[in-house]
Structure formats: C-alpha cells, structure tokens
Point group: C2
Chain length 170, copies 2
C-alpha cells in the first residue's frame, strides 16, 4: 500500500485493516485516523506512540491487559487473534514440550500476580529461550519499570504488524 | 453480582465480563480495573467516565468510530456484537421496511461524511421514530458538539450494559 492510498481510506476501512496493530485496542487506530495524512510509516507510528504515551498509567496498563499470555490458554484453545497466533508460532511457542508449557504458565502466573498485567514481549524478535530468560529476569523488576518495558514491546509488535500490513495488504 | 465479588475479579475475569461495556473498547475496562475497589455502580461508572473524559478529542472520536452504524451493514450481515444486536433489535431496527433501511443508510452516510464518525445513540432509550428524528436533527450540528453528544450517548449505553451485567452475570 502506498501512503496516498492509506491516507484516502475511510475510518471504517482504516480500522478494518489496522484495527489490531495494538492487540485488541482498535480504539487506538480509530483515534489516530484523525491525524492523517501520514507522510510515511514513521509518521503513522509516531501518531500511535503519541496517543499511547499521553494515556494515564492505568491506560498503559490497560493496553498490556489486552494482551494474551504467551503460550497460554488462548493459544491452547485456539482463541488468539490471527496476528498473535502467527507471532507466537514464529517464536516456537506452539511447539513446546509439556514441561516448558508448565514452566511458562507458572512464570506467567507469578508475573501477573506481581504486576497485575501480563508479560508482553515482541515474540517475533525472540525465540523461546530468550523469551524464558527475559521473563525470568523481568519478573524481578518494579511495576513502573515493567509497565514502561511492556509498552516498548507493544510498540515493537505494532511496528512489525504495521510494516506487514502496509507491504502486503493492499 | 455484589461489589465485593466484582472487586475480587482478576483483570482477566473483569475484562471477560465487562470488556464490551464501551463498544469494542476493552482497553477502557482493562484500564479502569486499576482503580478498584469500587463501592458501587456509580463509582465504577465514574472511573469509566473519568478515563473517557481525559482522552484527547481524537480518542473520543476513536470511541465513536468503534461503534457500528444503526441498522447498517453489521446488522444485515449478523456481525454486530451481541450487546449491539440486542439494543438495535429492542429499538425495532432489525424489522425496518426497505424504504426505512434506505433512508437510515443515506442519513448515516451523510452524517459520517460530515463528522468523520458514526451517529451514536442509546438505542434502548429510543425507538425507530425518535432515532430517525434525532439523526435528522443532529446532522445539522457542528463537529465538537456532536462528538460531545455522541460520548454522552456512549455513557448511557455503558450504564445500561453495566447494570445488566451486574444484575444478571454472576
């Protein structure tokens, strides 16, 4: 898709295409559509970041809470969004042994208990070994630090989703 | 559901139950969960209103853009959320004659062209006659006025959805 095409999309078309660039938060692209035209991918991303960064802390945690657990119930039940399913599969999380599934479930549980939001990491930029290592490390941080780190990962995920959509969608 | 039960829900349970009190904006209840405990329905609503009111204008318009057209494509295709389907049916919008469907489609189109977000009204507090009259009237207002009015209607819809969930869900 070229940017003149992207900038000419109605809000309905835009939300249809970009609605899940931030997992289950179609409110964000629906809001950011107001800021068109966008000169390029960086400009579109900058508008998304600006919106996210202006949210109160509860809103940033809310974004994290819209994310599924890695290798969690949604993966097992087949209820992941298509984007998350592909990303988790790419990191090898759909082909874990049962001991790895249990370990990840236990760490996810501890993480959520401590921080009150799930562990979020850009699965496409990691594999199961680095994900497990990161999760073990990050579980020891404090809440504000982890929320900020989670939002950084949300932005990486968003970047890859946007790039893929712009390259392939139209 | 009593409020001690509600306040003891994990964020996953809370978002599961209340995720659509603002249409397709689960980010909002996911954020507001941070503000628990809630003494009662008014306190929960106040937290939701506070979150919405603090959004920039683009965010408020974004909320409106997450709403379907009344008697529009989603109703015809069966792709409404369960809440919207019930509300639109209650107002008689699933049993319109073809002339009424065309008229509503034309007015919705004009409204969206003018304001860049859809006409939002609490269908449960209206019937098809008052909806058509409101739509015809509101189409002549200015954008800021209509965005504020749309958000008022979002809050009415949210109130009724919350009440129904708290009464019946648990």
């Amino acid at each position: 898709m070229d940017f003149p095409t992207l900038n000419s999309l109605s809000y309905e078309e835009f939300v249809n295409i970009f609605g899940n660039v931030v997992e289950k938060c179609s409110l964000i692209p629906a809001a950011v559509w107001s800021k068109r035209p966008f000169a390029n991918l960086s400009a579109l991303e900058a508008a998304i970041h600006e919106f996210i960064d202006a949210l109160p802390e509860s809103g940033k945690e809310g974004i994290l809470r819209c994310h599924p657990d890695l290798a969690g119930r949604d993966l097992q039940r087949g209820t992941l969004t298509p984007e998350s399913r592909e990303e988790q599969a790419r990191a090898g999380l759909d082909a874990l042994g049962s001991a790895e599934v249990s370990l990840l479930a236990q760490l996810n549980q501890e993480y959520k208990k401590r921080f009150e939001f799930p562990f979020v990491i850009c699965a496409k930029m990691n594999d199961k070994a680095t994900i497990l290592r990161q999760l073990s490390e990050r579980i020891g941080k404090d809440r504000a630090e982890e929320s900020a780190r989670g939002i950084e990962e949300v932005k990486k995920i968003c970047h890859l989703r946007l790039k893929a959509l712009i390259l392939h969608k139209l």
